[in-house]
Symmetry: C2
DNA sequence: TTGTAAGCGTTATCAT
DNA sequence: ATGATAACGCTTACAA
């Protein structure tokens, strides 16, 4: 891709914008062309970074641009070119640290490709997620990164969008769509195995979504069940606590209920970090020692997990790598290079911290 | 190009093309108009919600839209209308919970006005903040909400943008620009007074920015100094710890240094919550009891503050209200209704929690 | 390497 | 309440 030459606006000291009386956008490419003694097309070429331009011409054009205080009309370019340079990122909500940190990473990754990101919050509501896929706004983005939470396998047909699409997160859909997946199964199992290796046997789970067959909750819970079974453990149903949205508050609520239930447990795995952190809060308030009485693990490795008390053992799904790969896939898809869809699973790493070991490690 | 012939075919064949083969965006307003037996302008009027349209016409048009699978070309509309329905939100980084939660609130507030939000991360870097103000991208947004961190009073001239602008956060600039301010002074003083009322005398500060004269750090630190002076206390210079970006990590580092410095202190105020939370982590690891040995307070009231161990006493600047007011101001500014600029200070509230009282309260 | 011609699909203007 | 016409400012195709 060409790199667009950076252009500067004449700031306050502007005798320069004499042409348009300082009233903003009156200067067009034609004005610049006239001023520089070239054709509009040449101005366009210069500003688009078209390589085959004589250096003298280029600098003459740029000088005129500066002198007239010209600013390219992006709407016009987008319209005519049929591209906007914007990609969409649809996430449940930015208040969830995982998605905020993911959005940060995606914005930075997109910037590397000269792309701007437009964030859409779905609130994890099915209807909103469908809207995102079919929205008119698809007209305004060249591609879409989509982290679905409410959609299930039955919705696979909705993924046949006209705009290039890359899915983030779970491997819920069979395709045919590009996908950067989190290694939920291996990651969750690693966490559970770690708890078992630490001698825990009654491991509770926070954040299950009863009735949901696909989705992060189902996948991670399934992985937990498998890991338990592999160790010859049969977890009691009562240790699987539902929690709708995965906030600190719902994690806290779930833990309160678990404690109220009276069922014994010596470890808890939150299906994400915020659930686990909410649970830690409640455990601590109830005077239970972590990890002595109850070990706690999470999933996501949000920044907070390194600074909570105790610090939180969790699974790091490598957000940066996910963002990088997702943008790369989307860019390739937008370029139309590839036809077959691809699925990439990002690496994960278990971060062992105090909430399971009692001492700082592997921070 | 194929788009052209596709459209041409629709033109000549008329309604027969109703299937459209799913090949994308070839259907234009003209096609719809022809199909419905009206003029393009009427279609436009219907789709733009122009009120004076006969009900039969409207429904005929909408039927044609549906039958042809027509989708409005937003790029074309934006171009022609000179508006995009997008507002920009420039923040330092979404990884900072305060800004993530603010962005969430702004997106929701904007939605109420039918506006979409495009987020720009400045990284709190001066150069990036200036770019945001003068960027070509200003062409693509109808207005900008800007939360400056690196700019100072000297940059006031840069705020004379052509795009409507509303500032968020500190009252650094004198105008002439709309502003939704946080009540930093009163909020910080309330926190300090609370610590003093709790019997603390040696109150350290985390996150000062030496050499910076304006900006959040300077304002909040100044308020701290005033509150101390008002109580007849003279804080030692050594208790004011610098921290560049206000992350948990820098808060932790600052606290390590404070402890290493050997200066006695019985309270700490973090200039934001993440600093305070990083500090709590370090204090706890050093075996200091909070609040018995050291009381801790923050600023921002991020969600995390209600679930940390201990929960964090902090100043709630009412993000939702800030977002609501800011979008409202911007919308009015975009409408061109008002000429004089306004400055609104959002209400604040001190949230007293365990980190200063030892017991849950006022959560 | 640069110029010419021809719109892209929508909305504004003004008329009816 | 609706229609005819003319742009909006840029890029694509092709010519030179």
């Amino acid at each position: 891709m060409w790199t667009r030459s950076e252009r500067f606006r004449a700031d306050t000291d502007g005798p320069s914008d004499s042409a348009n009386g300082g009233l903003g956008l009156a200067v067009t490419m034609r004005d610049v062309a006239k001023h520089a003694g070239v054709s509009p097309k040449t101005v366009s070429n210069v500003l688009s970074g078209f390589p085959h331009i004589r250096e003298t011409t280029r600098s003459r054009v740029l000088a005129s641009v500066e002198e007239l205080g010209y600013q390219l009309n992006l709407s016009a370019r987008n319209f005519r070119a049929g591209r906007t340079g914007i990609i969409g990122l649809a996430v449940p909500e930015l208040s969830l640290p995982y998605f905020a940190e993911l959005a940060d990473a995606v914005i930075n990754a997109a910037e590397q490709h000269g792309l701007t990101v437009m964030i859409e919050q779905t609130g994890a509501r099915r209807e909103r997620e469908l809207t995102v896929l079919s929205s008119e706004r698809g007209q305004l983005v060249d591609g879409l990164l989509f982290s679905p939470l409410a959609l299930g396998p039955a919705d696979v047909d909705h993924l046949r969008t006209t705009t290039p699409l890359v899915l983030l997160g779970e491997r819920i859909f069979r395709g045919p769509v590009d996908h950067v997946a989190i290694d939920n199964v291996a990651g969750t199992q690693a966490a559970v195995e770690h708890l078992i290796a630490a001698g825990r046997r009654r491991i509770a789970v926070l954040g299950v979504h009863p009735g949901e067959e696909a989705g992060t909750a189902a996948i991670r819970y399934g992985a937990y069940l498998e890991a338990m079974a592999a160790a010859g453990l049969k977890p009691a149903k009562k240790l699987a606590m539902p929690a709708g949205p995965w906030h600190r508050s719902t994690g806290a609520d779930a833990m309160e209920q678990l404690l109220a239930g009276g069922k014994r447990f010596d470890a808890v795995i939150g299906l994400n970090d915020t659930l686990a952190l909410g649970a830690i809060r409640v455990l601590t308030r109830h005077g239970l020692r972590i990890p002595d009485d109850v070990a706690v693990a999470g999933f996501d490795d949000i920044d907070e997990a390194r600074y909570s008390t105790p610090t939180l053992t969790t699974v790091d799904p490598s957000r940066k790598e996910i963002a990088r790969l997702a943008v790369k896939l989307l860019v390739e898809r937008m370029a139309g290079d590839r036809t077959e869809w691809r699925e990439i699973t990002a690496p994960y790493a278990l971060r062992v911290r105090e909430s399971t070991t009692g001492t700082a490690a592997n921070a």
